[in-house]
């Protein structure tokens, strides 16, 4: 009986120590993942800055005119078409609405 108790006690101590070691191991793992998260967030921010710089209207206009040879629409080349019952809103439309209006003008929207 005493032996069993002794062995059980030793096992308990082992379990306790193992648990402590495992907590430390997991702690390191969590730390590593958190660091990884910070690095990924940093990368995301860098890409966001790059994306914003690349989509700047000034740059797009430069690429459109100088590289692609596009020109701004001249007078009379833009025709806004509204669906029946659709009154122009007083508030500013969203970008999506603007795009739709331009698609309408080229006749590409068939709905």
């Amino acid at each position: 009986m005493k032996t069993v108790t002794l062995v059980a006690g030793v096992l308990l101590v082992f379990v306790f120590v193992w648990e402590r070691v495992d907590v430390v191991r997991l702690g390191y793992q969590i730390e590593r993942l958190k660091t990884q998260k910070v690095l990924l967030e940093r990368k995301r921010d860098q890409l966001q800055v790059k994306f914003s710089a690349l989509t700047a209207p000034e740059r797009i206009a430069k690429v459109a005119t100088e590289k692609l040879g596009l020109v701004p629409p001249q007078q009379g080349q833009v025709v806004m078409v509204h669906l029946p019952g659709e009154a122009p809103s007083l508030s500013l439309p969203s970008v999506e609405q603007v795009r739709l209006a331009r698609h309408d003008s080229t006749g590409r929207v068939s709905e």
Binding site: R42, Q48, V49, A56, P57, M80, L92
Partner: protein
Amino acid sequence: MTAGPSRGRRYVMLLLLLCGFSVILFRLVTLQVLQEAELTAKADRQHQKTVSFEGARGMVSDRHGKVLAMNVEVPSVFGVPTLLESPSTVARHLAPVLHIRRDELERKLRQDKSFVWLARKVEPEQGRRMEQLSLDGIGVMMEGQRFYPKGPLLAHVLGFSGMDGQGLEGLERRYDSHLLGEKRVTVLQRDALGRTVFPKGLAEQVPTPGHALTLTVDEVIQYIAEKELEEAVTHSRAKSGTIIVMEPQSGAILAMAVSPRFDPNVVAALTPDRWRNRALTDTYEPGSTMKMVVAAAALEEKVMTPDSMVFGEYGHMGIANTTIHDHDKLGWMTFSEVIQKSSNIGAVKTGMALGEQRLYHYLQAFGFGERTEIDLPGEVSGLLKAPKDWGGRSLASISMGQEVGVTPLQMVSAVATLANGGVMMKPYVVSEVRNQKGRLLKEVLPQVKRRAVSQDTARTMTTMLEGVVTNGTGTKAAIPGFRVAGKTGTAQKIDSRTGAYSSTQFVGSFVGYVPAESPRLAMIVVLDEPQGEAWGGAVAAPVFRRVGEQVLNYLGVSREDTVKIALAMKDH
């Protein structure tokens, strides 16, 4: 063979093992449990150094979420001089990587300090090379660097922040308390070999970023305004220029362009003169654009109707021992024609019909002499003297836009008031403030300042101002397919040497709104000292047309000749 000795040896072995394990266990339990706090604190004391730094500044984006300013973490290099054995050797290694003179680095590293910055906000590649060098007493820490990815776009409104992340100009300054990240003390720790220094628990200790701002500005409209303004300033060889585009119904600023531009990413070499937001810090005598306010007052007070007849004195009229001239020798004309032709004498007679007190009242009602209270720093209230301080000619001068100093923002707010049926809205630039998780902290709603004139007066004024563009001095502002209401202005500047009105220095401007029947945009174009032809109708009105046309196209606003088609929705 007996079991006795064998069992005895086994017991001895077991006892020895147990003793051994017990010692190990006792030590482990002592170190990891009983003395844990004490030992951790001791280790921390030996290896840690505390430094405070702040969380990333909040992001600034336009009304469609396009990023205009944000923080990116970049490496900064620091040294711990007390840990260095040979500062000269370390400086020799660092100099080629950091591109800093060796003697300068050595001087810093020889200081009797436990922490010293060696190079802040360096290139990521330099940071990587520093980490590879792995020098004793030298560390790399990430710090927030403010980036304005669109370069000069909206720079005068955005402003910029300093090296330590504090807002110095523009929105960065006005909303500094929102944009600032959380300030937190960070613990730097050396590893077991004492070679590298890094923030302990890096992720946990990253301070909370500041709040994000959403602006009323649309980056595309801003770009159009800046592009056209730059062209106009270059073409007219003006000293500077301003364009403000405002939504009349709300007071929301859609664009605020100032020329010359500057890049907020590179401000170190610039003078304050370059980054001053002239749209609200600089006053000018507006000249004829002020006549629309005088006219609105006269209509509201019923001292004039659009058809009232006014005699133009054939271009010359004496007032207080001076003579007032008109560009043309005008005779009898209607009140509408006074505005269309921008007659000084007609405006003076209108002002005199109103009288000092009433004119002053309406100038105040349209916001002159007071700040618009826009959420940007540095705004001035302009110059509007009280009638008791007016001289013999003041009533006449003010009626034609002299002896009064206004900002472009005040003037566009005044015209937006007419566009908005006589109700003045408070201009604003920031529409939302959100925390880093996207939760809305503050929403700015359109705010009415006051009603300046009745809706009927505003409507009549719109018709009269349309006449300016169709038959008057502002024909170059006409946008095909749209009804434009507006007023030209050409004001002589005061010559600083003589104190008299200059015959060569002018401010040319145009202020108006479109479509006149249901205004979507109120806009002002001001060009300071254009060379050659300086008339507002010649230099500023065409800019109004070009910006207006592009912006209306961009917003998808229908022209009067819009084709309406019926699509058979049921067929699909």
